[in-house]
Every structure is written in C-alpha cells, then in structure tokens.
Symmetry: C2
Subunit: 204 residues, 2 copies
Amino acid sequence: MNATVQHALRDAILGRDLPPGASVTETAVASRYGIARQTARLAIERLVADGLLRRAPHQAARVPELDAQDIRDVFDSRAVVEQAAIERLAQAGSIPAEALAAHREPRALAEDAPFARIDATFHRALVAGQPNARLARMHELLMGEIELCIAQVQAGRVLLPAEIGAQHQAILDAVTAGDAALAGRLAREHVHGARDRLLNQTTH
Amino acid sequence: MNATVQHALRDAILGRDLPPGASVTETAVASRYGIARQTARLAIERLVADGLLRRAPHQAARVPELDAQDIRDVFDSRAVVEQAAIERLAQAGSIPAEALAAHREPRALAEDAPFARIDATFHRALVAGQPNARLARMHELLMGEIELCIAQVQAGRVLLPAEIGAQHQAILDAVTAGDAALAGRLAREHVHGARDRLLNQTTH
DNA sequence: GATGCGCAGATTGTTTGACAATCCAAGCGA
DNA sequence: TCGCTTGGATTGTCAAACAATCTGCGCATC
C-alpha cells in the first residue's frame, strides 16, 4: 500500500501536479490517499531520500525549486557516476535487455509517456546492468532529481528524440565493441550535453 | 531521542558488538533502548539506508556480511566519487577546517577512537568541503559500508597512520596548489591502496 | 510607524496499543 | 523422503494521543 502511494506522489511531483515550492504535509497526504499519517510520513521520508522532496525538522516537506546551480550539480554528479558505470558495462561487454527495449521501441513502452521518461528508463537500465551495485545505487539516488530538473524546465520539447537516439546508439556500439574509454567518454559528453541544453532553457 | 539510538546502534554494528549476520529486530531494539517499536523501526530504516543493515520485506534486518566482491564494489565506487570530489576541491583551492583538524591532531580528536574512524572523518570532511552537494551525499552513502568493511576485516592494525598520513599530506598539498588532476589521481590511488590492503587481509 | 512579545494554530516527532500480512521452521502424515 | 499444515515470530499498517517546535498574526510598547 505504501509503495503505491509513494509512486502516486512521485508522479504528482514529476507531473507538476504538485508545483515547485508546494508544501506536502503528512496529514494532507494521509487524507488524500486514505492512509494513516504514519504511512504518509514514511512515503514522504522515502521521497526526501530520493531528492524529490526536501524538508527541515518540524517543517512541512516541500517540492524543491531547482535553480541553475542545482542543475549543474546534479548533472555533473551524474556524469561522473554514469561515465564510470558505462566503462564497467563496456568491460563486461553485454547490454541489458531493458536498455535495448527502451532504445529500440520508445513508442511501445508507453504512448503517453514523455520522451524524458523513456530516456531515463534507458539510462537507468544501462547503469543497473553494470556489475557494481553501489554505482547503481548512487545513480538511482540522482535520477529522481534529474527527472525533476527536466520536468521543471519543461524540457520535453528540447529533447530531440532523433539526436539523443543517435547518441545512445553510439554509446551502445562502443559498449558492444568493448571500448570502455570511448563508451565512458561518450556517456559523459551525452550527459553534459543534456545539462547544457537545460541550462540554456533556464537562462533564456 | 531517535538520533541517539541510531548512533548507538551504529556504534554497536561498527564495534562488532553486533557481529556480521546478526539479526536486528524492531522489538529487540525497542526494548534494548527503551523506545517504542515505531521509533526503533525508524532507526533501523535509516541504518538500512546507510548500508549498515540490510533487510528484505517481512524479514528482520541483518548486519551484512561483506565479502571480497563487496569490498571491491564499495571501494571502487568510493574511488570514483572521491576522485571527482577532490578534483573539485582543488579547483576551489581551500581545505575545510575539519579536514585539517583530523589530519593534524588525530590523537586530540579521540584517544580511544581507532585510527580508521579518524581516517573516515578526514575523508568525509574533505568531500563535504567541496561545492557539489550531490557528490557529498553519494559519498556519505558509501562511507557507512566503508567503515563496515574496515571493521569487519579488523584492519585497524593494517592501517599504518604514518604512511596514510603522508598520503593525506600529499593530497592536501596538491589541493592547495590547485592541481586538480594530481589531487584527483592521488585520491584515487589512495583509495585503491586501502582497497588492496583490505583484500590482502581477507584472502590471507 | 517600527519593533519586540506572546499567543494560537499548524506541523512534526514520538509513544502506546492493536491487528493483519507475511515469513520461517518444526512437526506431522502420506 | 517429501510435501503440507500449523504455530510462532516479525514486519506492515492503522488509530489516537500528547509533547516539541515552527510560523504568522495581533498587540503592546517605544
């Protein structure tokens, strides 16, 4: 029961149903989803751990408002982790099935899902398929805020599926070729490109 | 009240009072520290998030037994994050006061504390002093398991304060000199050295 | 008019007690 | 020997309550 509420809250935040700056109180969540306050509290705490909410002691949780510095921080950290992850994936040499599915059939996954969601699925699957569980855990820690960044900048229009798909293809090729250095470099540049596109959107 | 219990539990785990494999039930923690089960549950969940406990749904939490592969995973991830963090610290060019304190006065910090604890304090302070908050958060996520690794291998004897102190000094020198590439390389090698010493200890 | 104080409301932090859901191991029967 | 049931242990969730803390507003004072 808790996992479903957590998922619903997550969607509400990423879907801007709860706009940045909105306060999310335990009682509000409890009554909204018909659960006990303790359970709502737990869901909120998990989302705080995921970076999708923030809160100070004795204050209501709030949807964070991410500024340009936050975007730089999050994407730079992601670049570090994802480069390392892709390098390890290339050393292993095999591409996870879920990543291939997200890469090949973006339409089939979810017609209504924005491309940003599919892109996140692809990257998550790539990192999850690499052997180091801690790297995957750290990556997961970042992806919540990453999706929040993209949602807040409303950058769905900025992400060009064709261009990004080509970059993904290049990364996959380097991985299958076992060229860890190249794959890692491509992954880092890919993330940095996303960061710069988002930053352009915000300052503009 | 909860923070103190969490700290006591943490010490019990790292001090091998709770040996690897020991099960930590909510009721046991509650009665041991005289708190409600809900509060004990919360403390356990936080420690699970820190990597100091593991648990599956509807099962008691357990102190993880880390094998050689875990040590490789944790330290390799740490090397990735810490190299990036030290590079950013060198670009900023200033060394956090807490890091200097831990480096210069290991005795003064805590006479009874093992050197491993002081070493962890030093590294935590270095990474926390660097401007990227997400990198620091990921590092913190790893340090729990790092300390657990060291405690389980009982590697207090293996960590030579003089040698490690010299390596720390070299890193600090590179940071103050603003040589990000050198500082990052030294940090990575420093972490890899710790990893190899621990691995030698386990297989032996 | 500006400043500081205090009070009431809102919210979280923690406790206690209870019950359902689930897992695990021991015992039992085929 | 193998599979099943059953009972105990443990977690997951709910409900109600109270203390601790923060926030904003009104009010007195300067």
